[in-house]
Symmetry: C2
Subunit: 318 residues, 2 copies
Amino acid sequence: MGALLAAIDIGGTKLGWALGTPEGQVLASGKRPTDPCAAPEPALAAMLEDLAAAAAARGETPAAYGVAVPGPFLQPEGRFLEVPNLPGWHGFGLTEHLTAALGDVPFQARNDANAGALAEWRWGAGRGADTVLFLTMSTGMGAGFVLEGRLLEGPLGFAGEIGHLRLSADGPVGFGKRGSVEGYLSGPGMLQVAGQEILACIQTGTTAELSGVDLSPRTLCEAAERGDSAATAAVARIATKLGELCALLTDLLNPDVIVVGTIGSAYPDLFLPTAMDVVRREALPRAAQHVRLVPSGLADRGNQSALAVAAELWERQA
Amino acid sequence: MGALLAAIDIGGTKLGWALGTPEGQVLASGKRPTDPCAAPEPALAAMLEDLAAAAAARGETPAAYGVAVPGPFLQPEGRFLEVPNLPGWHGFGLTEHLTAALGDVPFQARNDANAGALAEWRWGAGRGADTVLFLTMSTGMGAGFVLEGRLLEGPLGFAGEIGHLRLSADGPVGFGKRGSVEGYLSGPGMLQVAGQEILACIQTGTTAELSGVDLSPRTLCEAAERGDSAATAAVARIATKLGELCALLTDLLNPDVIVVGTIGSAYPDLFLPTAMDVVRREALPRAAQHVRLVPSGLADRGNQSALAVAAELWERQA
């Protein structure tokens, strides 16, 4: 192939960039911290300079740019909506800005869940399968759906907004809805579940090591690995809800593979066996037998997600 | 175009056949009653004879056959599974049978929800839209998804099996699951809801006209139109659950149009306004503003569904 592709990964804490190949190999990468409240133009300009310098050092120029952005992202207009973690970017017209900055070089932006689904399907844990669902399980809980070899966007680019689904009438709040997928399965959602379990332990006089630590998804999972009672109970509830979500997606979309990112991927043994038990119990038997629930298979998910967007664009234009 | 297409609609009470055009026009049609417990071969043979005779009367032979079958249907093997309303057809190898019967004439079978989605997208209420979801709302509650101009099947052909989703931990039973979509929104499910509301009226001494009639989806809806209290309460609960399902599908798939068949289509005013209120309240605002919830737009849905399967096949081969 030989083309050099540029990848930009826009996140709440950093802007990452990479140069890579259409086969998913990252050749060079870097990052800059994000000031979430600052205007996006200077940060993007610095990023494009980093990319241009890295490409020039190789004696090449990128053939296409792929950008992964936090959702919700209004695809037809290429514009940010009210992104929770990047208030400075609210309403920012990314497509308009990149059209001016990049001239004739083609670019494509997709929300990070959709970009992640493309990357897992091409190079990660969904490789070789036709129907691959990717669940971010990160600061937010979004999804990307590659269905029969094609990413589903929907007319506004909102397909896969699973965080907004309500799993139960009661439950922790996420995405403005009580009992939602994001309320249970995003990082902040998990901490709500953990808080309830810590409280239950305190009320029943059970020792909960977790009550003495700074609570984060990582400390929660580490405490569960050590057998702490509150953490174990919280992780079991979270894994069960993950299973209910996966059962629903299995009945609806008959996937080959569901790939779990970030937190589920860092601690697969805590979440995936329990979730798979729920899928077997709740989903249609044949569809449940067929689907695999697996951790992310990418070495550098952020950069490779944006790179997959560039690769898709580049192949479409080739 | 000019091709003559053959359509076969296999249902629990009748086998329907039609001859039609690739543009969805039905030129001739007929039907035979089904004995649900009888072996399928003689019934299919009679159907193919009817079709051949009708085509011969026009001096033509069909260029392709489309078949709509009740789900669950194992697409890769072209084989019936345990179809609730057709015990005689359990495990029947339709593809094998039609290959022997039709020789070189191409055919394609799809479950009736998927066939209905194709027909609504081509010729019905989803015409002109890219992403069209069709909900059968009939004896069963299945769905077909046309996503960005293409029917989603899934590797086993099970995509769209919404009847199996659980909407609440408690609730009427359908598809073997309590509180499932089929428990609330299939014909038999609606009657369970109605039965609960009649009981509530009897217990509170409220007059319920509905308790004196033979209960069917039609008598339920007619009683609601006349303002009967139990029927009105039941229809409101059913419409709310339809709305919750449509909100979930709107968040997941960002559709342009959701088309409701059979019962919802016969009584749109009873169900669709309430359901749309729930979608506006529950789904992502922009996706909810975008989607339309409408009754079926087909004059002859059964025959046109099978005809749409034939048309899709014929175009693919042309």
